[in-house]
Point group: D2
Chain length 261, copies 4
């Protein structure tokens, strides 16, 4: 298994300026620690808890910004798609199309993403058993696209709570697809703040260390220069100022469990 990859970026693409600043900061941090990174941001938050939640800058503008970030920093970029019709235009720029967890069983969306030929990263639904992801994976590979990633992001555990079942990592790996651990959304508290979704940022390093010790291909971590003012997922984003130390500690565990030290 290759060394750990990191998927890093803010929850939303809030503006061109903010995305460029975040990309530059992430490029600097990962260069310093010698890590491989994919830049992520969402151009549209299509399933906010309430109607008044900010949704991002939209697809067309976001693609321009992603292209700029790719050119400037050499990052691969990832974004999530919510409608079949968005897959083709997104795939013109983005290297990885991500299927949101709520939508992981929407056949048309999966097929449209697969048909772009880009890497498709499917997040496991909060309502799904890990062994049932083989059916989801087959919707991608059965559409002729072998470039599949599967992401763990927690499973429903009572109300307003997710739990991560770390047995899910080796179970999903049996499909042959690289498995990613999403340390950000695994600590979400869905709907837990009444009109928005809460989170427990302090457990991001805890669960990420566990995942890397179990063995994963990559870790997904949302980060922000000022999480408490971020328009979404603030409670579970890691401050930029803490990112470097976290990446370093995870890479050390990864090197140990993959037998490189």
């Amino acid at each position: 298994a290759g060394p750990l990859a990191f998927i890093l970026g803010p929850c939303q693409m809030e503006s061109r300026d903010h995305a460029l600043e975040m990309a530059a900061a992430i490029a600097e941090i990962t260069a310093a620690t010698g890590q491989r990174a994919v830049f992520k941001a969402s151009y549209d938050k299509a399933n906010r808890t309430s109607l008044s939640g900010a949704r991002g800058i939209g697809m067309a503008r976001a693609m321009e910004v992603f292209a700029e970030i790719k050119e400037k920093h050499g990052f691969a970029v990832l974004t999530d798609v919510h409608e079949a019709a968005h897959c083709a235009p997104v795939a013109e720029v983005c290297d990885i199309l991500q299927i949101p967890a709520f939508l992981c069983r929407q056949t048309d969306l999966l097929i449209a993403a697969a048909q772009t030929g880009r890497v498709v990263n499917v997040k496991k639904g909060q309502f799904l058993a890990p062994w049932d992801m083989k059916n989801v994976a087959a919707k991608i590979t059965g559409s002729g696209n072998p470039n599949l990633l599967l992401t763990e992001r927690g499973v429903s555990f009572g109300y307003n709570t997710l739990v991560t079942d770390f047995r899910a990592l080796p179970i999903m790996a049996e499909t042959g697809a690289p498995v990613i651990f999403d340390a950000t959304h695994s600590v979400q508290q869905p709907g837990g703040q009444g009109g928005s979704t809460g989170g427990q940022r302090e457990f991001v390093p805890v669960l990420a260390r566990a995942a890397v010790a179990v063995g994963v291909a990559g870790v997904f971590i949302e980060t922000h220069d000022d999480p408490d003012r971020a328009p979404s997922d603030g409670p579970n984003m890691v401050p930029l100022s803490e990112l470097g130390a976290l990446l370093t500690s995870l890479a050390a565990i990864d090197a140990l469990v993959k037998g490189r030290i």
Copy 2:
């Protein structure tokens, strides 16, 4: 509160002939028992467990059949929509647009359904707390459509299992929307048969009686002339031959708890 309404029909609209036969049978049964019924069928099963699952006859043909059923039997008809672009054409024929549970937080779909002005029936996500449906409801009513139904259909409970929390019924009723109990999908065993979803038909009457005793506006029950050969949800559909007795027993409990006997 008015007397109990029933939403009845096969899971899929399998063919024009089958839908017409089912509608005729349901008309006969509900006429005999004096019940009010809405006819339901799905024109596209967009989230089958695996790629090989049958998906139904498609939107355009289904709308013709729904129109025929409305004219012949005077039924209101309900179907589920999976994409924002489908809402307007479906609303030309169907009286009730249903939002699937997995999609209950997809803002664009909710707004598009609301803007048709038709009744919108939103199923509570398997991953959602009942008190969080007030945010979902507000996406419909905040789009100018007060004609809202909320449906309980079970919540994730470990793997491949749903449980019905009957506290959810009065909690969702606090929104002011009539609450429906979906007795068919509440007994699903999601993914429980490996490549397809299982179910426990024998518990449909059990949970339906419980829901009616708690107090609901309606009960949703999928039914089929030959459930074991149905292309989807067979394990949890009630055979037509048992439907009449079930409706009668539920109506009797409803009359008692709503103070009419």
Copy 3:
């Protein structure tokens, strides 16, 4: 199936005077509504959330009070036992020995209770599947005592929350034992108040109606003249002033579903 039985009383036997007052009030209410009742109270709360929680008046004094209540009102009486050594002395007075849910797999306690020959009411553990109660039941009947009741009181659902799976009622009834629904502890929020256990009294009638509509032999309801000052389980006890109306409504549903009206 016979008409619904009610198991009624305060959580704790707080004092002789209080127990006698409660028994008299319950006798009056059930005489007025024509219901059959068993009187319950606990002489020792052996598993309080914290060390400082009040534990009751103790076994010896409680047995005297139970004897007095039996003689005065003709009630059968029920109490819970936590140690094997308590079973024989408790059985000299009490008609039903109840095994607490946490202890439902403690073999020695089950055997000791069974060997008294008294009726044994085993509560299903919050951690147990309903089909696994057949093993528990066999520990009683295999010890030569066929006088067994099984009680549903909710199952763990995330943290600090229980949910009632009403499928459990018919599943446990397959053992042949009469099934009781404990409407009081099913609405507990274990540990939900930090140093003590919370509850949602408003859902007692909701879940009790559901259980009776499904079909049970009896309903267990803790009641108190002043629940907000009770030393334990106050948040989920029904005020005495509301008890009569609740029993009447449950008996009416029971009569309907058991075919007597």
Copy 4:
């Protein structure tokens, strides 16, 4: 934090000969790998799934064997107690008294164990939130005994399934007590084989690695020379032949996360 401790041994003390053989084998393995070990075995399995399950050799004989093992190998020894009256005699020999998860709220048992002055290891109930263990811990320390360990062993997740929430480790550590991860019972499938309890041995190393990466004081692993013929917990015990490699890999992760390499 000190280096990782291991609590190792068979589920049951099956016989004097078997216990001595297991202790010798464990002594040899841990000497070779340089690990610290505590020897564990249960003298009475008091909560078997069914009445016919073997229960062990009994307290008096077990204490003699424990004394022999202590003298021969210098191990500290741990066993579990189910009744308050057993605590004092067990404490004459055993260094650590363990409170079973089902019994973690039984006040009398906790106090009796605390009053021996021995180290008390309380397993978190499958029905308990991690933050509620502070109340349990206070029952021990409030009885004058500061020598407390808290053990994570999974939480109920639907039926016949446990899940480990690794957030529980730092949450329980806030009490100040060293936290142990029980890798054996965390992979139990309670009641999952009908008349007995199943397990998933293949996930013991997976979850143990995760726990050590999060950070724990010790790991509890049941082991057996022939797990498939063991009288209890066979499906989740690690074969002796695999134990050495597992301990070595866990110790390496521990050294990394505790900053010793």
